[in-house]
């Protein structure tokens, strides 16, 4: 019973405040057409992503469907990346999309060419954010 209380509390807490996480949870599984995604975070996103129910954090980037964050080692560079800053969105070759703040506003973008490269599908609802 105690576990349930903790889980329920964490779900309620999660959806009360962590709007960025909510965005990742809504958008990223849609790209992969999966309910649960394995993700490898960098140090800046790890803490938030560990609260997620639909994104499972893995400790080895090779086991991950997707990398989420700003900075990754070269050995992970073959994996698709969802960037969390404008700079990393521009920096990495394998970026499929990004969430970042620019001009004082949160923004989301997807890179069509890399979405195709990794055989992912951009749902209609997200097409207008694609570049």
């Amino acid at each position: 019973m105690r576990i349930i209380v903790i889980l329920v509390a964490s779900v309620l807490f999660l959806y009360a405040g962590e709007y960025e996480l909510r965005l990742y949870e809504k958008v990223l599984p849609m790209l992969y057409n999966k309910k649960i995604l394995k993700v490898f975070p960098d140090s800046t996103t790890k803490q938030d992503l560990q609260k997620s129910l639909s994104l499972t954090v893995v400790s080895d980037c090779n086991q991950a469907d997707l990398l989420i964050g700003k900075k990754f080692h070269k050995e992970c560079s073959t994996k698709p990346i969802f960037a969390t800053s404008y700079k990393s969105y521009k920096r990495y070759k394998n970026v499929i999309g990004a969430f970042y703040w620019r001009k004082g506003r949160p923004q989301i973008s997807f890179k069509k060419s890399n979405i195709r490269k990794f055989n992912l599908q951009l749902p209609n609802a997200l097409k207008r954010y694609a570049q």
Binding site: R22, W101, G104
Partner: protein, 628 residues
């Protein structure tokens, strides 16, 4: 049981899946509700009032005074020299708000010999600010090198949220105009920078005093630059202004010329590495004053150039063990000043023997968690202040302490704060003509406050009740020709504040603040009571933002009721361009503050009556913002 749990989780997930939020709505939620103050606010640190980025933007608060006017603790006042001075009481003391301290990020911005930066920053443009935190009743010793009763923390924007550039143009009543621009970017090596410049031509309302038009017009350039990464920050700030200094030194408030030129420069570095936080700051404040009155006036001319160089350094160590968060710190500050071209009625003034003040502060602070939701905070600070060469008030040793008790449940927070705070004279008063020729005692504030917060969905209620004893308060003393002296009686202040924040639709917010304060045992008035009520609404309809604010005030001394009504409208044309219109104090009924006026004749001192002037003008502002 596990199956039940999983079913419940699935049900909750479905609830959220069915929540038909589109991506744009989610992005708007992130914009409006992501609040950096959640990361920066100082827990267990006095009573706080936080203005989020969204609040500031929608209130169209372009200057810090737009925030301070609704503060129920002080409000916003300008002194005889037109400088922001929230504790100003109408007399001839050049500045009294010394223990209201202003920080940009984690670095204190000082105001030269006046110490507090609120005189320069109280009306500063705040387009560089992400959010503002105001702490009252002796906040944590972590930031207070010197006695601090109120801490105003302005957090700068950064490339974290504001990568890109912005230009903002505004035009206001009486031909006032302002240009602001900033740029922020991330560099390749985890560092990022933010650079900001504002030029302001502030045209203010002029007020008549016996045929003389008193002016507070100001031209100001304000530059801020930060270079930072996760653990290190370099901050540069420069405020340069010339201002008509209102009544200035004229005791009957009829100056022919009253003009101040100020250049305030700050360069500082602060860092947090493992358990240590440390910083080194340099502040330079150059103040030139030029005053001229009728040849038969008691003070008919005055000039001075005061240059103050201040170096501050601090080192703090924080460690967690068992249920304790223990912090120890040491701070050092030296304020070196020189006064040149110091003339009064065309006579060169003798130089003061004291030319600097040394302050050494050591503190211990422990936050002990008795239970997960029950926290006891205790702090002790020793301050040694020295004014070498001073004839009077050459230094003192101070022990300040504070004790706080916080109990938190899911919906309730109870915080009790008790504190002892001693305040000494800042350099501008040492051996000056404003202070009685004697050694003064440090004045003491002993207080206890209770803060109760109750949160339910979409509502936050807060009650703050306080009782303050002020001993040896420093006030003008008739027995010493109006010079500052310790007041022998104890002043008792009781206050009660009720706050309610109500989120009544997704982006619509109502805020109410009702405050009562009673001060007993002041020198010329046995009891002084003030009432203040603030009502504020923030509404969003598609691309339009509306802001309404009514501040109603009454005090038992003037028995005058005042109403400051502010209204604003912002139209977001697209992601890059917005237009805004704001009316400030539109009924011209803002509170008026008294400026005493005297004339010195052969028969003695003649009271010419107090001049009542508002510190917040009536004006309309149109502005445009373009981001790229």
């Amino acid at each position: 049981m596990k199956r039940f749990g999983l079913s419940l989780l699935t049900f909750l997930s479905l609830l959220h899946a069915e929540d038909s939020l589109d991506i744009d709505t989610l992005l708007t939620d992130i914009e409006k509700k992501s609040d950096l103050s959640e990361k920066t606010k100082l827990e267990n640190s006095g009573i706080s009032l936080i203005y989020t980025r969204d609040d500031i933007d929608r209130m169209q608060a372009k200057y810090l005074k737009d925030i301070l006017i609704s503060s129920t603790t002080y409000g916003y006042k300008e002194n005889r020299y037109s400088a922001p001075d929230p504790l100003f009481q109408g007399d001839f003391t050049p500045f009294v708000s010394c223990n209201i301290r202003v920080f940009i990020d984690n670095q204190e911005i000082l105001g030269g010999v006046f110490a507090s930066g609120v005189g320069n920053l109280g009306d500063i443009d705040i387009s560089f600010v992400d959010h503002i935190e105001i702490y009252t009743q002796t906040p944590t010793y972590e930031y207070s090198t010197e006695p601090t009763f109120t801490l105003i923390k302005l957090y700068t924007k950064s490339a974290l949220k504001d990568e890109g550039s912005k230009v903002e143009l505004s035009y206001a009543s009486r031909g006032a105009a302002r240009v602001t621009t900033y740029t922020a970017n991330e560099l390749d090596n985890d560092w990022n920078y933010f650079a900001y410049v504002t030029y302001d031509n502030l045209k203010r309302e002029k007020y008549d005093s016996f045929g003389t038009a008193l002016s507070r017009d100001k031209k100001r350039t304000h530059i801020i630059a930060t270079l930072q990464n996760e653990n290190h920050r370099i901050l540069f700030e420069n405020i340069n202004f010339t201002t008509d200094a209102f009544a200035g030194s004229s005791i009957d408030a009829t100056p022919l010329t009253s003009r101040l030129e100020v250049n305030n420069l700050h360069l500082g570095y602060d860092a947090t590495v493992n358990h240590f936080s440390y910083g080194v700051d340099f502040d330079q404040h150059i103040l030139k004053y030029n005053f001229l009155d009728d040849p038969d006036a008691y003070i008919y001319s005055k000039t001075s150039k005061t240059t103050t160089n201040i170096i501050s350094a601090d080192l703090n160590y924080k460690v967690n063990f068992l249920s304790n968060e223990f912090m120890v710190g040491a701070k050092y500050r030296i304020k070196m000043y020189t006064i040149t071209n110091d003339t009064l009625n065309e006579e060169e003034q003798p130089p003061r023997d004291n030319d600097h003040q040394d302050v050494v502060a050591l503190f211990l602070q422990n936050v002990y968690s008795l239970r997960e939701n029950l926290v006891l905070t205790a702090g002790l600070q020793y301050v040694n202040v020295r004014n070498p060469g001073a004839k009077y008030n050459d230094g003192s040793d101070i022990f300040d302490y504070r004790l706080a008790f916080t109990y938190v449940t899911k919906q309730w927070t109870f915080k009790t704060v008790a504190s002892h705070l001693e305040t000494y004279l800042e350099p501008f008063l040492i051996d000056s003509g404003y202070v009685a020729d004697k050694d003064l005692k440090n004045y003491i504030n002993d207080f206890i406050y209770e803060d109760i917060v109750y949160i339910v969905p979409n509502n936050k209620f807060e009650i703050v009740g306080g009782y303050l004893l002020s001993k040896d308060y420093i006030l003008p003393d008739k027995d010493y020709g109006g010079k500052l002296n310790n007041y022998n009686e104890t002043i008792y202040t009781s206050s009660l504040i009720f706050r309610w924040t109500h989120q009544y639709r997704r982006y619509d917010k109502f805020f109410m603040d009702l405050a009562y304060q009673n001060i007993d045992n002041l020198p010329d008035i046995s009891s002084y009571t003030t009432y203040k009520a603030v009502f504020r609404t923030l509404n969003t309809f598609n691309k339009l933002n509306f802001f309404n604010e009514l501040i109603a005030e009454y005090d038992s001394k003037s028995k005058e009721k005042s109403y400051t009504y502010n209204i604003a409208l912002k139209y977001q044309y697209n992601d890059s361009l917005s237009f805004a219109l704001k009316g400030e104090n539109i009924f011209d009924k803002a509170p008026e503050y008294g400026y005493i006026r005297f004339e010195v004749t052969e028969d003695g001192i003649q009271d010419l009556g107090t001049l009542y002037i508002p510190s917040y003008d009536r004006r309309a502002v149109v502005s445009m913002e373009y981001l790229f």
